[in-house]
């Protein structure tokens, strides 16, 4: 089964989940541009019912960092 967070990133960025891993970031995934990032914020906030600060959003520059952040917020991954 595909990991929940990877699946969310794949859905939002419209890429195959197999193209993503923990190290995926805007530099390695061309679809993760500013629009992609904005859509990710929307999706993460509604899926995990968290509120991201502007700095949180800026710091979330890889899937691993997003996971770390969401875990700290107590989200179920």
């Amino acid at each position: 089964m595909t990991d929940k967070l990877i699946k969310l990133f794949a859905d939002v960025l419209e890429v195959e989940p197999s193209r993503l891993n923990e190290e995926s970031c805007p530099d390695t995934v061309p679809e993760w541009d500013s629009l992609g990032a904005m859509n990710l914020v929307t999706a993460i906030e509604s899926e995990f019912e968290v509120r991201l600060s502007t700095r949180d959003i800026m710091n979330m520059s890889s899937i691993a960092l997003a996971r770390e952040f969401l875990k700290a917020k107590g989200a179920e991954l």
């Binding site: 061309p30 904005m38 914020v41």
Partner: protein, 589 residues
């Protein structure tokens, strides 16, 4: 703002649709073009979803380049890459287009009105050159500007007054233009809750000012307008009487005992009638289907002085004890309209159920138990949207002549005139240490106008500035609306004595659509000429997103050279730069 079920459903619909339809031909889709001064891409799933919910089966949505309202209106073909757009919707904010007047109100009004005139000219130009429908959203009340902050204890009305003046000037001017539908973005934001409609984080990071809730409301509004343009409206309302047009049962309570008047619950019925009257005035036919003694019902219509609806407003009375299905069929036949253009309103769930089962084409509305929500629930069905647009279109057709005259009189209607009016000034200079952080940011963030999309680190750029084999140029730009800051980077590499290679050339999307790229290249060439360069080579390296830069080299005099990979430009054959852009160059040692 949290999305409701309805809004979430719209987004899901769109996601499923866009997955399925990615392989379908766009040729036969219903095409909507969005022009905006802010990032509008996040509207797409909301708008698309609401369009699908409205029964528009094959929408496709395109977005014009960011913050190029003037340019996109003056040349919609270039903005959307096709002339086959069905509807163009325009979103703009005062603070995006006219920031200098918004940050200081002193003397703003006169100047702002002059600017508005120019913008209106541009809208008129679009109307005359574009065949489809146009929806222009009026600008909303400026957000996060001190002058407009309503919580000020001191002179808080100044911003409000200016806003209302601008809004009414705009609606007056545009109401004279046939075929432009003016919509109210401020009203939508107010309905969503003005504060909750904004998302400051997304504004700072992505130039996208609105919350998901507000975007859904905007999408719903535009979808309604588009659906009203494309789908036939309902034509006739078939109304029950007791507990629908008034409270109580006339056959039992008598004309004096029924509730319609100026206190609740009578007031709720009176206001519902007033809305039906408004629909009737816009062309909707009214019919009565009531199980009653005809004389009782007619007496109420003729003698009750709180009745808004009068006998003359009703095309057909079907008041008897036979089934409502029979009445409805009779009404459709007598008025010579299809059952699918009827809307049936009744308080009795059994009647509603019977009509739904036997006449599935008829839309039914059951009066809610709480009288206070009758009107709001009924409006939510949005059944008669088509009438408003048709009527507006009719009155506006008469004004077509005026518009033609206007088009002839006003001069400001070509892209060149617009660009000249901007009074763009650029300065081109060799990047120094203090520019490195912005230069690196541009190099790594710019996707669209980026000739080679080569990314570089801060250290690498510092090194290029230091070493003698490279030149790193930057461009700053200002126009009459304000300062764009550092918005262009070019890196040149020395190949042989007099030959240089254009290794990087990129511009922030903030400055695109203003011919600044031509001015930037011109400035760079001026400097290089002084350094003794006689030939420049260059190459377009395709990326998934840099089509805006595709023809840059060839349209600026570069031609195929001996080395087939690279294009060449002899500086003696360089093309000129637009005379309306002022270029300052700083000498390089």
């Amino acid at each position: 703002m949290v999305l409701g079920e309805d809004e979430k459903e719209a987004i899901k619909l769109w996601r499923r649709y866009s997955k399925d339809s990615s392989t379908l031909s766009l040729e036969h889709s219903y095409k909507i073009g969005l022009i905006s001064t802010f990032t509008i891409d996040s509207l797409i799933p909301h708008l698309g979803g609401h369009l699908l919910k409205k029964g528009i089966e094959n929408p496709s949505i395109r977005v014009a380049p960011y913050n190029q309202v003037h340019q996109s209106c003056l040349d919609h073909l270039v903005a959307f890459g096709t002339d086959k757009i069905d509807v163009i919707a325009i979103f703009w904010r005062l603070e995006d287009l006219f920031s200098q007047y918004i940050s200081s109100l002193a003397k703003a009004e006169e100047d702002l009105i002059a600017e508005l005139d120019q913008l209106i000219d541009v809208f008129v130009h679009l109307r005359t050159s574009f065949k489809g429908s146009i929806v222009i959203y009026s600008p909303p009340y400026p957000y996060s500007s001190t002058e407009f902050y309503l919580g000020r204890l001191n002179n808080a009305r100044a911003g409000l007054d200016l806003f209302y003046k601008v809004s009414s000037y705009l609606s007056k001017s545009l109401s004279n233009v046939a075929g432009i539908q003016l919509a109210d973005l401020n009203g939508i934001l107010m309905e969503s809750g003005y504060g909750a409609a904004h998302d400051v984080r997304k504004w700072y990071l992505y130039k996208q000012p609105y919350s998901e809730g507000a975007l859904s409301a905007i999408g719903r509004d535009l979808a309604r307008r588009i659906s009203a343009l494309t789908q036939p409206s309902k034509k006739c309302l078939v109304l029950d009487c007791d507990n629908t047009l008034w409270g109580g049962v006339v056959g039992e309570d008598g004309i004096k005992g029924i509730d319609v008047g100026d206190s609740f619950p009578g007031l709720a019925f009176k206001e519902f009638q007033a809305y039906i009257k408004y629909l009737s005035n816009s062309g909707v036919l009214l019919a009565i289907a009531s199980k009653n003694n005809e004389a009782d019902v007619l007496e109420v219509f003729e003698r009750h002085d709180s009745m808004v609806l009068k006998t003359d407003d009703i095309s057909i009375f079907q008041v008897h004890w036979q089934s409502k299905v029979n009445s409805i069929c009779h009404i459709a036949e007598a008025l010579n309209i299809g059952l699918d253009s009827l809307v049936f309103i009744d308080d009795n769930p059994k009647e509603i159920e019977e009509v739904r089962t036997r006449l599935p084409e008829v839309i039914c509305f059951q009066i809610p138990e709480d009288e206070s929500s009758i009107l709001s629930e009924f409006k939510k069905l949005e059944l008669f949207d088509g009438y408003t647009t048709t009527l507006e279109d009719q009155t506006r057709l008469k004004m077509l002549e005026d518009e033609k005259k206007r088009g002839e009189l006003r001069s400001f209607s070509s892209e060149k005139d617009f660009l000249a009016s901007l009074q763009l000034k650029v300065s081109v200079f060799a990047a120094a240490e203090e520019h490195v952080s912005r230069v690196v940011q541009l190099i790594n963030k710019t996707n669209q106008f980026n000739l080679t999309t080569k990314r570089r680190t801060s250290d690498e750029v510092c090194q290029l500035i230091e070493d003698g084999d490279h030149q790193v140029f930057a461009m700053k730009a200002t126009d009459k609306y304000g300062d764009y800051g550092l918005v262009g980077v070019a890196i040149l590499k020395n190949k042989s004595a007099n030959v240089w290679h254009l290794d990087s050339f990129l511009l922030s999307c903030r400055i695109l659509g203003r011919k600044a790229e031509t001015a930037f290249l011109s400035g760079v060439l001026d400097i290089m000429e002084k350094l003794g360069c006689i030939q420049l080579t260059g190459q377009y390296i395709e990326s998934p997103k840099n089509t805006p830069a595709e023809s840059f080299l060839t349209s600026h005099g570069f031609t195929e050279g001996v080395d087939s990979e690279l294009l060449e430009l002899n500086l003696s054959e360089r093309l000129g730069s637009p005379e309306y852009i002022l270029i300052e160059v700083s000498d390089v040692q």
